[in-house]
Amino acid sequence: MNKLILGRYFPGDSWIHQLDPRSKLLACIYFIFVLFLANNWQTYALLWIFTLLVMYLSGVSFKTYLRGVRPLIWLILFTVFLQVLFTSGGTIYVDWGPITISEFGLTNGVYIFCRFVMIVFVSTVVTLTTKPIDLTDGINSLLRPLRALKVPVDEFALMLSISLRFIPNLLDETQKVMDAQAARGTDFGEGSLVKQMKTLVPIFLPLFVSSLNRAEELANAMEVRGYQSGEKRSTFRRLTWQKRDTLCLIFMLALTAGLAFLRADGSILH
């Protein structure tokens, strides 16, 4: 559990930490789209410079980011190998039935590897530098236009914030239940697959039941404090859009322009 870097927050005070969660989320999503504009080594170099700059600005050590990529490395390598083995074109180095290793295949493989790693890096920057509660606020605020379509955005945001708030409690409880069952003689992680699955039942059932109880108590506590779903509420938390947030988005546009300029055919559209 402790190895998982994705979705964790590292407290800090860097330039990126101080950005508004909305601009960070928007920039991250935008970056993932813009990534697909790259089609030659110059554009990839530009994207790498940008990614590394953002990582440097976040003030989190490079090692931490590498740990973020580690759980995904097999998935990335698998995709890269598929690309390398099944793409043909350009100079062909190996030709062995349907499997070919070609010039195009190799470059495509490298490009895909870069894309994957950059996406992971940039999204890790967002989660590492934003508190979960700020992220929730950011998502809530970005989804707000959907209210016009009768999407219950506030309820969704409340659910998100309550789930995040209960994660440590549930982890604690899982540990307690596991210890309690182990004290009664359950062996975890031993025996055949079926046997291992069976040992999970005495963990999941109590957890499920206690979650239901928790939910009921929480619902009571919320109702007593005057919560009515769908009713107009005022909000305590407030996000402030600063100059640096505008700067961040301008930066993203500059990146797009740079990519368009360096692209092989020179235009954004194929």
């Binding site: 409690n169 404090r225 005057g226 919560y227 305590f236």
Partner: protein, 279 residues
Amino acid sequence: MKKPLVQIENISYQYEDQASFALDDVTMTIYEGEWLAIVGHNGSGKSTLAKLLNGLQFPKEGHITVCGIPLTEESVWDVRKLVGMVFQNPDNQFVGATVQDDVAFALENNGVPRDDMVQRVKTSLEKVKMESFLNQEPHNLSGGQKQRVAIAGVIALRPALIILDEATSMLDPRGREEVLHTVRELKSNHNMTVISITHDLEEAAKADRIIVMNKGKLYREGTPEEIFQMDEELIALGLDIPFPVKMSKLLKEKGIWIDKPYLSEKELVEELWTSHFNR
């Protein structure tokens, strides 16, 4: 002389899947500014009573009036503004992501404007002495601290009545003392009314009045002195008596005459060390 705040008239309540009544023809009055302790064994109907007072459930028969407002499905949200409630489990009633969000939750629900909200969150956290924990997350707080935050959340709304529904039963002795001290101070400074539903008899002994519930009925009502005089009877009801009362009783059996039941250790000690001179 004493102004009634809550009036409960002949209420009965039955849970759907149960044969017996959880509350059976209960009538009581709660007066302004008093500290009322409701005691009783498990299943005596104490917590059901608390839920009825807040409109979480509605009685099958009878009426409840809070501050002059008859409690009905329409008036329930108005009544909830007047009645604050602190529940037993410190974790399961913490809604906010951080301390200040949790205190602000009830204010948000009532549409309090933000500037006012910031001020009220700050002052109510100061009152429970948690002002230095503004941005802490719940899993970093102790049980007693979480309950104090819950109290801050209640007083931010400035209710007329606070119900503590076994609010200290999951705390260690120190946390319990902290929480009760906080509520006692708030009560005396702001002339609030407190209903404390409890198993803790030391806590009940410090109340102005005690109501004993048994099997859904109001069994007895009186001052702590009166209630704890019925010692054998209380034990038969599945309750206990506070340590000083027990001690006095044992001393009496040993032939040491103590003329009245003392409810606090301090009073008992006072009596014991002066009794030698009076002999």
